[in-house]
């Protein structure tokens, strides 16, 4: 069990260097179980790189990562996902030639023991459809089940990606700018969805929409040039003079 004292996801001295350039430098992160934690900062601050390090898409140059007490610093990428640490991508990432329903099915196949089944027809996947449709309804994609995923408008692709991620019933969700490029109406939907999802899960979220961040987050970390600038609740962060200078004050990217 994870007590409220120890972090569910913990990073120590996380560092990533690209040919002499430090995209992330000596970063400590503690994300507590059940919380919504936001990671904010100007473009190029290193937020996506942090996600890539935490989900083992990139190797860290230095540092250590623990998830639910387990050291995952050198774990294979797909194994991290199987542990229940699942992400969405900043650039929406779907299987374009597959239908919306098939996208969800793919996510459901492995947990249901249907990944390696080569001797049966695809109708063996029909039993996943009930769950898949429920997930699609959750993100208002019920009417699009048979559309080609690549043909969806941007906002709906994002919604599909979130539904696909949720299909794995992750214990912890990493969302990279889930609301980017969405209209106001979709932002309200996704905010509501994340709120609902977060009731039973831990969420780490990169988001430029500060209204959504304010509404959802328990805790916020501000990143600038790969380093931690500040950390605290929304009100604490807003009061921080340094943050205002670096980020909130000037031309805030919303």
């Amino acid at each position: 069990m994870t007590s409220s004292q120890t972090a569910f996801l913990q990073a120590r001295g996380l560092t990533r260097e690209f040919r002499g350039f430090y995209a992330v430098k000596d970063l400590d992160l503690d994300i507590r179980a059940g919380q919504v934690h936001a990671l904010i900062g100007p473009n190029g601050a290193g937020k996506t790189t942090v996600f890539n390090l935490l989900t083992r898409v990139l190797d860290c140059t230095e540092g250590q990562i623990r998830f639910d007490g387990e050291d995952i610093t050198r774990m294979a990428t797909h194994r991290v996902a199987r542990l229940g640490l699942v992400r969405s991508f900043q650039i929406s990432s779907v299987f374009p030639a597959l239908s919306v329903l098939e996208n969800i099915r793919v996510a459901l196949q492995r947990p249901n023991g249907l990944g390696m089944t080569w001797w049966r027809s695809r109708s063996a996947l029909d039993r996943l459809d009930e769950r898949a449709h429920a997930l699609l309804l959750d993100v208002q994609l019920g009417d699009f089940a048979h559309s080609r995923a690549g043909d969806l408008p941007y906002g709906r692709k994002r919604a599909l990606e979130i539904a696909t991620t949720l299909a794995l019933e992750p214990r912890m969700l990493l969302l990279d700018e889930p609301m980017a490029g969405m209209g106001t109406e979709d932002v309200v939907h996704v905010t509501e969805l994340v709120r609902r999802v977060a009731r039973s899960r831990t969420v780490l979220m990169v988001e430029h929409n500060l209204k959504a961040v304010a509404e959802l987050s328990d805790r916020i970390t501000v990143l600038a040039r790969g380093e931690k600038l500040a950390e605290g609740t929304y009100d604490e962060i807003r009061a921080d003079a340094e943050v205002r200078r670096a980020y909130l004050g000037g031309t805030a990217h919303a």
């Binding site: 990432s93 597959l98 001797w119 027809s121």
Partner: protein, 326 residues
């Protein structure tokens, strides 16, 4: 998906059943073996997006193992074929293990290199008979009843085995496993983030492909009663690439069409005074320029354009083609 294939497949089967009235059975057998070889290769290229340049290693291994089992161990033909499949699959697992982690051109290069290594092993190994090959094969009775010394019986046996093998390919690509292969080809990082290990899936597909290529080689050795180095050369690896590209990537029957066109052309050119490699090369260039989706792919989209269709801009066929062209 299934329905759109039923008619062409049935038509093809009927044609193949009456073809011996017009063509020599042994010529048709050659076409069938090439078609199966191309289908095995296409399982990788079309459905996983991996271009292997060393597939003759498996075709040749199938041929040598079948010949060895028939000529020296006097195994029944069905057992000799099974042996050929098993050894080819094992070799496929080893070569696949070394290759599937590489992408694009590096995958092609490593398969070419390993394929050449296999060639040199067979060139040196005493049992292959070097330049002479393994001769003196008597195919015997298939399943104890079908006398394979009768050309027609041999042809229909090969047709039956090939049809079963094609049904297996269809099952694999249309299975839940095939769905994940598609997903990996479409977006590998996303598949990994959903907990899939692409290496494992690619290795499984590679092994399947090697096993089927081995079956094709085994059938050829059994029918022609000889196994030689020709079947393991890099030219043979190149030929299967050629057949598949001419037929069309991403179309189930594409490899069959390609194998029939190239096999037929070769047969025709061998009897004429024309320079075969030049004509084949020109035919290939023409096909690639005129039909970007291959002959079968182009025919399919022509047919679909008349009927209401679904999507075009980046369907798997064009995507696969683009990947090769890039």
């Amino acid at each position: 998906m299934l329905r759109s294939h039923v008619l062409p497949v049935l038509a093809l089967l009927v044609l193949l059943c009456i073809a011996p009235l017009v063509f020599y059975p042994i010529f048709l057998i050659k076409l069938l073996c090439f078609a199966l070889f191309a289908a095995a290769f296409h399982l990788l290229l079309g459905y996983v997006g991996l271009l292997s340049f060393g597939h003759a290693a498996f075709f040749g291994t199938g041929a040598y193992m079948c010949a060895q089992a028939l000529a020296r161990w006097n195994l029944a033909p069905e057992l000799a074929l099974l042996f050929a499949v098993a050894v080819s699959a094992a070799l496929g697992a080893v070569i696949g293990f070394l290759a599937v982690r590489r992408q694009g051109i590096y995958f092609a290069m490593i398969t070419l290199a390993l394929g050449q290594m296999v060639y040199f092993i067979y060139l040196q190994a005493p049992f292959t008979g070097g330049e002479d090959g393994i001769r003196g094969i008597t195919p015997g009775h298939f399943l104890g009843v079908v006398d394979l010394s009768n050309p027609l019986a041999l042809y229909f046996t090969v047709l039956a085995v090939t049809t079963l093998a094609f049904a297996l390919v269809w099952r694999i690509v249309q299975s839940p496993f095939g769905m994940i292969l598609e997903a990996i080809r479409e977006n590998e990082p996303r598949a990994i983030s959903l907990g899939y290990n692409p290496t494992l899936y690619k290795l499984a597909a590679f092994t399947f492909s090697a096993a089927l290529a081995g079956l094709a080689g085994g059938l050829k050795a059994m029918s022609f009663q000889i196994a030689t180095l020709v079947d393991v050369t890099w030219q043979m690896s190149g030929e299967v690439v050629l057949m598949t590209l001419v037929g069309g990537i991403g179309t189930f029957l594409g490899p069959v069409v390609g194998a029939f066109i190239i096999g037929g052309l070769e047969q025709y050119l061998a009897q004429s005074a024309l320079p075969a490699p030049v004509i084949l090369g020109a035919a290939f260039i023409l096909c690639v320029m005129l039909f970007r989706k291959g002959v079968a792919g182009t025919a399919k989209s022509l047919l679909q354009n008349r009927a209401p269709k679904r999507s075009t801009p980046d369907n798997p066929e064009t995507q696969a083609t683009n990947r090769i062209v890039k």
